[in-house]
């Protein structure tokens, strides 16, 4: 495919990318420095700087050394177990990613379906859109116990509703919203002249949908997907906690924080695991973005 000069991998872009990486590394380094610096300051001054008490406790119980946190990853989870914390966290992250991924897939399908319906029929937009928005104002904390109660209560197509389904359901419930709203905006984005052009070809609505509306919606879907991904992950972690599902990061965060007084670094390992999961997912979305927008003008994300 021929590409005009200066669009693909120009030296300016490469330098920009390198600088972005450098900034990211520097930001992490600065955060680590602040953490350890605060601790060191607290220990050196016994918690009082120029007559002011430090706002947060700096002892190892509240703020373990970062080296201890990192070291904790390679140590066994509990006394008497062989599995290291690192492996447990990775397993938990993988499990959560699976539940979130399933929820996201359902959320995307439902979101796109609703968007197509709302674009096609104005009545549907009038009738559905308020409820789509309303769905997100229901407090998540109120919804979770309700959904948690579904397990074992009813069947879906012959399958009994299981606990993990509740977790994925909550993830999909949060993920469908940005997709539905973004896709609707994108599907409605072609100009009147574009639609007239398709009408002049006597194109059926389905052809207009697939050849014009969906491709037009792609730049709107990228940021929607980013939001949906994040919502699905956070939703899964919190849902695991409130549903009481074992195996995922949410459960680990809960368990480890119960051991906070005896094993402070452990709490942070699970949190770092969640952050890592977020980073991986953000990377996946970036790759998706690069791929779907490869043939578009720069700066085409709406």
């Amino acid at each position: 495919m021929g590409r005009a000069d200066g669009v693909g991998g120009s030296p300016g872009l490469a330098r920009q990318r390198a600088r972005r990486w450098l900034l990211a590394v520097a930001a992490v380094a600065i955060l680590c420095g602040m953490w350890e610096g605060y601790k060191a300051l607290g220990e050196a001054t016994d918690g009082t700087v120029l007559g002011w008490d430090l706002p947060a406790r700096y002892d190892d119980l509240s703020m373990p050394h970062l080296t201890d946190v990192v070291a904790r990853f390679s140590e066994p989870t509990n006394r008497g177990t062989t599995e290291s914390v690192g492996v447990s966290v990775l397993k938990g992250a993988w499990y959560t990613l699976q539940l979130a991924g399933l929820g996201l897939a359902v959320g995307i399908a439902v979101g796109l379906g609703l968007a197509v319906l709302m674009q096609r029929f104005r009545v549907a937009e009038r009738g559905l859109l308020p409820y789509v928005i309303l769905s997100q104002t229901v407090p998540f904390a109120a919804l979770a116990p309700l959904v948690a109660g579904w397990s074992g209560r009813f069947d879906v197509l012959g399958y009994e509703w299981e606990q993990w389904m509740s977790v994925s359901f909550i993830a999909s419930y949060l993920a469908f919203f940005p997709i539905a709203v973004g896709a609707l905006k994108g599907l409605q984005s072609p100009t009147a002249a574009t639609i007239e052009l398709m009408d002049s070809y006597a194109a059926p609505a389905r052809a207009t949908l697939f050849k014009v509306r969906f491709p037009s919606a792609v730049p709107y879907l990228v940021p929607a997907l980013r939001l949906a991904f994040a919502s699905a992950i956070v939703g899964s972690i919190v849902a695991e906690i409130s549903v009481g599902r074992r195996g995922g990061l949410g459960r680990l965060i809960l368990e480890y924080s119960q051991q906070a007084s005896s094993d402070p670094p452990k709490v942070y390992t699970a949190m770092l695991g969640a952050a890592l999961l977020g980073l991986v997912v953000a990377g996946v979305v970036n790759l998706v973005e690069l791929w779907v927008l490869r043939n578009r003008p720069l700066g085409d994300v709406r």
Partner: protein
């Protein structure tokens, strides 16, 4: 071949009223009679709100007339649209940014379920016609405005319709590019024998391009005069000939005869159109 070819467009007493019997009723077109013969290039000119775009959309069957009789190629406008008897080009080239230039031209052929090989062949043929052969695999956003408009024309002609409907296609181009595009359009039409109905705001453009210039007036939209332009074959000298200027003056005087603008209602039709009122 004993029966004469039917007129490409025949409009008899065609009217279009937006929002009839309502407070915001707009008489976009009243009792319009117009015949366009095969191979002719006819321009529609007039101030905003004179219904020239509405008339073009009626011919294209993008909207239905309120009353009157309208045939295209001897059949109903609707049937002509379904048979894809015409191609269309707008002021914005309206190319799809995610498709290459060649794949943009292939779009109408895809909709007609042409095979890939046939589409490829026709697209490169059309690109040669508009002299953009080497840009087949570029994306539209890598092309200048004039080049994009040429791609739009190639797309409109890709399935070899007998008629081209153009709504201010060169309106967004600079003067030099515009004159070049006008010459290109005439060359393409003489090579392909395409009939053209052309909406424009520009008097010199209308006179240079057309066999006939249809002058329209607003409130209500109607045809006030049809100016014949028997200038023969056009070239660069045409633009400087006395005949050319005489015709420009004739069209300008026909337009002056119309009560001038300044009425806020003159933009009604445009506004209605953008608001999607009474629109398919």
């Amino acid at each position: 071949m004993n029966t004469p070819e039917p007129a490409t467009v025949r409009a008899v007493a065609v009217s279009k009223i937006f929002n009839p019997h309502k407070a915001n009723q707009v008489d976009a077109l009243i009792d319009v009679d117009l015949t366009v013969e095969p191979g002719e290039l006819v321009s529609l000119i007039g101030p905003s709100g004179c219904g020239k775009s509405t008339l073009l959309r009626l011919i294209a069957n993008l909207i239905e007339p309120t009353s009157g009789d309208l045939t295209v190629n001897g059949k109903s406008a609707r049937q002509a649209r379904l048979d894809q008897d015409y191609g269309m080009a707008f002021q914005q080239a309206g190319l799809f940014e995610w498709r290459t230039v060649a794949r943009n031209i292939e779009l109408p052929l895809e909709l007609r379920k042409w095979s890939k090989a046939d589409r490829r062949a026709r697209a490169s043929e059309m690109l040669e016609l508009v002299k953009l052969g080497e840009f087949a695999h570029h994306h539209p956003w890598e092309l200048s405005g004039g080049m994009q408009q040429r791609v739009a024309i190639a797309r409109a002609l890709s399935f070899r319709p007998r008629m081209l409907l153009m709504d201010e296609p060169f309106g967004a181009l600079d003067e030099m590019t515009r004159e070049h595009m006008q010459a290109e359009l005439l060359r393409i039409c003489s090579e392909t024998g395409t009939t053209v109905v052309f909406v424009t705001h520009s008097i010199p453009e209308a006179v240079y391009l057309s066999n006939r210039v249809v002058v329209m007036s607003p409130r209500p939209g109607r045809i006030v005069r049809v100016v014949d332009v028997p200038l023969g074959r056009r070239d660069d000298d045409t633009r400087e000939s006395a005949e050319f200027f005489k015709k420009i003056t004739e069209v300008r005087e026909a337009l002056r005869g119309i009560e001038g603008g300044g009425d806020p209602r003159s933009a009604d039709v445009e506004r209605l159109r953008s608001a999607g009122g009474d629109f398919r």
